[in-house]
Subunit: 320 residues, 2 copies
């Protein structure tokens, strides 16, 4: 695939989407992969500007993600957290020592006047990431979870409360005035995009915020490139994270079909292909009935080879 020079845009949140992005990065030529990432999870914590999805993606693409923990950096230490704990400080958001350096670096760079896109590009360079990583916007957007306990900022719901409160919906604070990532908008309108891949990330809190940034969905519609989504739900479960639990609480069955229906209703005509796992093959006809092509393959990514295999499968769908 290295001979192709067309751009592939991957839209992603954190862990699952980062895995497929790594597979794509392994297969594609330098400069060919553009990853558009959710920043609705971002939050200010203890004075630091933290971008959980951007960081997960950068660490994964740098080959430095902590695969045991499922988040953060490999070989992480916890000296700051231990000291903070001695001070009876807030430790619900676990800040590893190395990870903290990223947050300090970003906070400093933003304070010096760089915008989030510039900061992310510089961080990627320092971490040795070749793929271009684009935050969905440089403006503050904050995902709020409407829960049975009231509105919760996303990290409070996700990390502090371990996704326990039942969800009733989501709201992206500040999204009305957020400007879409300009580099991605330009790419989409330049006729150089070969495919857009919606990674197996949470539709509600990872993909929706990206597509809801004003102008993003319109730019995707105007772009001729095929759009392929990979289901984040496999055999009724989310591989990682609360997607399946959220679907049940929203009164939707936790199935790949329901994900396809959700995308189909919310973004009519968006999906050209929906990739589902072998174990969900029985759902293929129902998804095809939504006027979406279905492709079936193993989608659970444990090894590096799994990631590359899924990436290869997805790219082949669009002749890459």
């Amino acid at each position: 695939m290295a001979e192709s020079t067309g751009h592939i845009i991957a839209i992603t949140g954190g862990v699952g989407g980062a895995k497929l992005s790594l597979g794509l990065a392994d297969l594609l030529a330098d400069g060919q992969l553009d990853v558009l990432v959710n920043t609705g999870d971002d939050f200010g914590h203890m004075g630091l500007h933290i971008c959980p999805d951007v960081d997960t993606l950068l660490y994964t693409l740098a080959g430095r993600s902590n695969t045991k923990l499922g988040w953060g950096l490999e070989g992480e230490s916890w000296n700051v957290m231990d000291a903070l704990s001695e001070l009876s400080g807030d430790t619900w958001f676990r800040l590893g020592d190395k990870d903290l350096a990223t947050h300090l670096w970003r906070t400093q760079a933003l304070a010096s006047g760089l915008n989030l896109a510039e900061v992310t590009t510089a961080l990627a360079r320092h971490l040795g990431v070749a793929a271009k990583v684009h935050p969905m916007t440089q403006d503050p957007v904050r995902t709020i979870v409407h829960s049975e306990e009231g509105d919760l900022p996303f990290q409070h719901y996700f990390v502090r409360r371990h996704c326990e409160p039942q969800v009733r919906g989501f709201f992206f604070e500040g999204i009305e005035s957020a400007r879409p990532n300009e580099a991605v908008i330009q790419l989409l309108s330049a006729g150089v995009v070969e495919a857009v891949i919606i990674c197996p990330s949470n539709p509600f809190v990872s993909i929706d915020p990206v597509l809801q940034v004003p102008g993003m969905w319109r730019a995707l519609q105007a772009c001729a490139a095929p759009v392929i989504a990979v289901s984040p739900i496999v055999a009724g479960h989310a591989i990682k994270g609360p997607a399946a639990k959220m679907m049940r609480e929203l009164g939707v069955p936790a199935t790949a079909l329901a994900v396809a229906q959700y995308y189909g209703q919310r973004y009519p005509g968006l999906l050209d292909y929906f990739v589902i796992d072998d174990s969900d093959a029985i759902l293929a006809d129902s998804i095809r009935a939504l006027d979406i092509n279905v492709a079936i393959t193993p989608t659970i990514m444990r090894t590096r080879k799994d990631k590359q295999d899924l990436a290869r499968f997805v790219l082949q769908l669009v002749g890459q």
Copy 2:
């Protein structure tokens, strides 16, 4: 001395003053020592609210200061700094992992609505410090060094530039509207203060900011308690820090006599006693000629016993 219940107020900056404060804390009864500390060195760095003098004092009083480095915490590790260095981040202000926990804790506490006095009290409690530590103000005051290279924020002069630029003067940004620490003002007016001790800290950038907070000098004048200063200059040298270098650059000889003259001119009538080192005994008569009592003793504090000996000497001057 434990039988006395009168309050002793120590006015201090960082290292040298913190040493004498520790000696005082060792000798005085719980609740008897109130330490009033400079916050002109405070600065915002990488999103964190850092109070170098307050922290040096707290760490010293907690018996946890790093005596090898002369700053920071004992047994410190540098994982965050190492990672920041890999990102080519700003590492001129060395943030130890444990020290960082203090800054994160403070930044979070201030963001939650506590003021700096409340935050300092809570930090002292968590660190097991019995003495009451009072920041000079809860409002932002920032020491600016007028140097031959232009105006430099204090930490840039002190840490980043290693005190290299020649100084021409100092300015305390924001001091006009700073409110003095209310607890100290109340103490000074309550007739319960037995003595005020000006620690061997830098007169220009540690003691001056404290005394220049509006209302502080007036409250000291109105208080009947004797004021004893310990010279930060011994035999023409500052034990620690740039005091002697600053004096020479300001056209003043770097002597204990010149310090006494400086205090005498800037704060007429302030000093009842000036404590000088044995090695400066020859200056005693010249200082007495300023109408200030002189007391002579070894003032260099290397060991814990040195600190206690100097503290005992100072307290005995005022019959404590």
